[in-house]
């Protein structure tokens, strides 16, 4: 079934839904302009704006629920943004089940992370600025998901890129953080180039940038065009969602404060690529090749991320690898049509909860361990940090797909759908689940179990309540979220007006063959990890490992590849260009000037000062003229 029609809306809470964006934006503006004066209350303002935004989003959600299912796509016109010739973009918000799901996730999880940050950043002199950036991020992300056209989406898209840049580089005095921030922005810009290209092709094809008319006319465009658009959008999605081959920035992005990693680089921003693909479903459905590429990218990344996760000793980088991998699952699902969309978004929401819970848990551990991130210096923390241990543990169980927890429902749905679609993709996804079981267990056991390998001056303690309460709420979400969304196809029904209803609803079979194999593989992974990291001693320095371990530890040589392929040649090209400009282009100009100067310098010497030589030259000149006259005259 086709998605529902988009209806113009005015009035009600939906009519003022722009407040969700404006409030955090206002918060960011006040905090940035307020300067040191707002240091004392800045973080409260930041939290308040985020919470207010959440409240508005929730009210909009309930108002949408109050409408009939086929009425749930409301368009709120804001103002004319670009009145330019044929491009006539009116900025508007599209409130439909898809966008409101994202809005709730962003503002909900975002608010929890805001609250957590009050405690986490308590000792940072720049806490106010941190909250300003967080608010800026929330506003940009909401614009990204709520906009009713590709231009608005693009503005939000780069806006979150900016917020991400600012937050990764928040501790700018660290050169590594500044470099990581720049790298994230530049790699994202490569993706944005793809998105921009997609937008240009969309515009030249359809003559508009608004979602409604584009999607309703998508079927009339040629398949080649749609494939081109789809692939271009996919490049954009790869950049933002850290999919292969634009994944390299995400691991470095862990230089940012941990709440940032939780909010931006796990729960929300990196899922924007999934949103883009799902939102542009009408285009991808007309371009099977593009869809296939989406699934391939998804599977490749889910395996790559999982493999990277197995070898990292930095707890945040291990989690970052896991994020890549989980988004790979979502991307895979997003390439599988309407059934996949629902699972992709459901997994995205579930992931938002459990990954945020784990990242914040990791932050809580770091907070306790003097900002130590090396898991080889953790161990046995379960007894000293009970709440963190339990909440992290629930998130961990959810991500590996422990039966009946969130990840079990959503990931299993993705694997089943992929299996129906293409067995190879399905089995690779199953393998990924097995690796997930291993590397997440490794993280969990190395951190909370085994012997204590702490540094001498480490005195771990449980984090304050302002940090633990968000953890508790998030872990509740990671336990029940999946079941709530998937059981009875509730989420699929809810999303149907936005992304279209699949021809037949999938029926969930708890003990299908695939499901059992997946569970078995996960169990093998967990047991292996327990044997290796839970029961036996963990060496304080990482062993050299096989070449496979090194391969994973070096991020599959992604950085080395980028360096060899782009950075070094780029540096050479830059030097060459500068040399060419100075010596070539400018050399030509200066050479010409020197030639003229030199010639006139020589010519000057003819002026000897001897009158008679002048007279002689006049004589010869006259003779020449007369002679020439005779010659010409006689012709």
């Amino acid at each position: 079934m086709e998605p529902a029609e988009i209806v113009q809306h005015s009035g009600g809470v939906i009519g003022v839904s722009w407040l969700t964006i404006v409030l955090p934006l206002l918060g960011a503006a006040i905090l940035l302009l307020g300067g040191r004066r707002s240091d004392r209350w800045g973080h409260f303002l930041g939290v308040a704006m985020s919470l207010a935004s959440f409240v508005v989003a929730a009210l909009v959600f309930f108002e949408l629920l109050g409408l009939g299912a086929d009425q749930r796509r409301r368009l709120v016109q804001l103002y004319e943004f670009l009145p330019a010739g044929t491009v006539d973009v009116k900025l508007g918000l599209l409130l439909d089940p898809l966008s409101i799901s994202f809005a709730l996730l962003i503002t909900g999880v975002g608010s929890l992370i805001h609250i957590y940050s009050i405690g986490y950043m308590a000792h940072d002199p720049d806490r106010r600025r941190f909250f300003a950036y967080l608010n800026l991020f929330v506003a940009a992300m909401l614009l990204l998901v709520l906009s009713d056209n590709y231009l608005g989406l693009y503005i939000g898209w780069e806006g979150v890129g900016l917020a991400s840049y600012l937050l990764i580089g928040f501790w700018q005095h660290k050169p590594s953080a500044a470099a990581a921030a720049k790298k994230a922005f530049v790699v994202n810009r490569v993706g944005d180039m793809g998105l921009a290209l997609g937008i240009f092709v969309i515009f030249t094809t359809f003559g508009t940038l608004s979602f409604g008319p584009i999607f309703s006319h998508a079927s009339q465009a040629s398949q080649g065009t749609l494939t081109l658009i789809g692939l271009a959008l996919l490049v954009g999605a790869c950049g933002k969602s850290a999919q292969l081959p634009l994944q390299s920035w995400l691991l470095d992005a862990m230089e940012g404060p941990t709440p940032v990693s939780a909010l931006i680089h796990a729960a929300t921003m990196v899922t924007a690529g999934v949103y883009l693909v799902v939102r542009s479903g009408a285009i991808f459905e007309g371009a099977p090749t593009a869809q296939l590429v989406v699934t391939i990218v998804g599977v490749a990344t889910l395996l790559a991320g999982a493999i990277i996760g197995t070898a990292k000793d930095d707890i945040k980088k291990a989690l970052a690898g896991s994020t890549m991998s989980q988004i790979g699952y979502m991307m895979l699902a997003a390439g599988l049509g309407p059934v996949g969309y629902a699972f992709a978004i459901a997994h995205l929401i579930a992931h938002g909860f459990f990954k945020a819970s784990m990242f914040l848990g990791a932050g809580s551990v770091m907070h306790a361990m003097n900002d130590e991130v090396d898991m080889r210096k953790y161990g046995g923390l379960a007894s000293v940090m009970k709440i963190t241990w339990i909440t992290f543990g629930l998130g961990y169980l959810a991500i590996i797909g422990f039966p009946l927890l969130s990840g079990y429902w959503t990931k299993d749905g993705i694997i089943e759908t992929a299996m129906e679609h293409n067995a190879i993709l399905g089995w690779l996804a199953v393998a990924g689940a097995g690796i997930t079981g291993f590397y997440m267990s490794r993280v969990f056991f190395m951190t909370f179990h085994g012997e204590r390998r702490w540094d001498k001056d480490a005195h771990p303690h449980e984090s304050p309540a302002v940090m633990t309460w968000p953890l508790i709420i998030l872990s509740i979400g990671s336990v029940f979220g999946g079941a709530f969304l998937i059981a009875g196809n509730r989420f699929m029904e809810f999303l149907a007006p936005a992304v279209g209803r699949p021809e037949e609803m999938p029926s969930f079979q708890p003990f299908s063959l695939t499901g059992l194999v997946t569970l078995a593989l996960v169990a093998v992974g967990v047991v292996y990890a327990w044997l290796k990291y839970g029961r036996s001693a963990v060496p304080a320095v990482a062993p050299r490992g096989s070449f496979l371990t090194v391969f994973a530890r070096r991020d599959l040589y992604g950085d080395a590849l980028n360096e060899a392929l782009f950075m070094r040649p780029g540096q050479w090209l830059t030097r060459l260009a500068v040399f060419f400009d100075n010596r070539g282009v400018d050399g030509l100009v200066n050479g010409l000037a020197a030639l003229i100067g030199g010639t006139s310098g020589r010519l000057r010497r003819v002026q000897t000062g001897f009158v008679r030589s002048y007279a002689l030259s006049i004589f010869f000149g006259a003779a020449l003229l007369v002679g020439a006259w005779f010659v010409v005259g006689n012709l």
Binding site: E5, P83, T86, A181, V186
Partner: protein, 509 residues
Amino acid sequence: MPWLSILMGVPVVGALAVAAVPKGNAKLAKQLTLAVSLVVLALTLVMASQFDPSGPRDQFSEVHSWIPSFGVHYAVAVDGIALVLIALAVVLVPIVVLASWHDADQPEAKRSVKTYFALILVLEAMMIGVFAATDIFLFYVFFEAMLIPMYFMIGSYGGAQRSYAAVKFLLYSLFGGLLMLVAVIALYTVAGKGTFLQPELIGVIKDPATQKWLFLGFFIAFAVKAPLWPFHTWLPDAAAQAPAGAAVLLVGVLDKVGTYGMLRFCLELFPDAAKFFTPLVITLSVIGIVYGAIVAIGQTDMKRLIAYTSISHFGFITMGVFAMTANAGSGATLYMVNHGFSTGALFLLAGFLINRRGSQYIEDYGGVRKVAPILAGTFLIAGLSSLSLPGLSTFVSEFLVLIGTFQRYAVPGVIALSGMVLAAVYILWMYQRMMTGPTAEKVKAMPDLNLREKFVVAPLIALLIGFGFFPAPLLNVINPAVEQTLTSVQAPQFTPAVPATAEKKGPGQ
């Protein structure tokens, strides 16, 4: 009311008054200059409020005979394009005056302080004149006369290599200007209409060969001015040696005369030749975009870096002008304005940094953000506007140029897109090297922006952000003029392959 003559007259009178200020009283001269430039700004705003975007193309028109025997007129008028560019100039002048408050009174310079400010006012009058002139001869006079105050501003008040830079700037521009003079005279002769008035010369030259030659005469002058690759090498020298304020006026406004001239003269007077040369110009523009960006990445001097980014940006503008679509044309015009604000902010902030540290080399800085957060923050915003971040006005123009170019020239559009990534590299890498990391020893005592400097930067940033979210006021003024230009060029209309308009309902309706 002869608005445009008043606009030009006020700064000229002001310049004379500033020059007449007694020698010791530099402060009075500065205050007087600031007051005059603010009066001009206010007058321009009043004039702009009376401009009717839906009215006739040329408004506030004045025509007086000047040299009757050659049909030369003192003829001024503005359309939407000229209006926004004049607005750009008069907005930038008071900001530059405020920013250059102490630039001229370095004791070792031994130059008259008041002369510098008088020159700024003279330049302002000429900048208004060059955009307002509708008589080609008058345009030429302003076009060349503008060089004189700028020559003295660079040559007398600039950096160590100022005279080299000033002479190079002057000679390069004169070279272009003389080619244009030949073309102007030839146009007058060939047209045989006995007038230099631009509107009356549209469509007069029909012979394709003549059009091509005349087009080249004008185009090379504008390409040098703009500057278009490969005529660009004077710009980094001039911009790096000029005092920051003069660099802003040079790159922000003077160079726009080149792109403005292409739009106004090359396209309208010689449409067939323009179409013939379009592939060449688009190619040069694309080369300029990528090349300028790559060379910018490799710079060690921040003012040169900013100058090279401008070469890249000018590539976008010329590409937009010659794409000859409504979007690209509007985008290019808007780009001229936004680039003025964006590069203006960058140059002025670079100037503040150089004043504090005494070096324009990037490597001499490091960790400035820690000691001067406002300076670093505003520098970042200005930088982000240079890389066309959405939400800042430069994005709107770059987006329009690209989407407009893409409608007709897909491949150049795609290559130009790579400028986006390169822009991120040159700006953020510069920011990383200068502002982040451990604070350099020589930077530790660097003061943050003072009140005067905040007043310099704040309006620019407000304009960048304001027009970033609400570009409609500018676009509404620009669009009709661009569309009329394209009508006289007879550029084909753009039609999408699968027109999907918002009015249509979904399938099944």
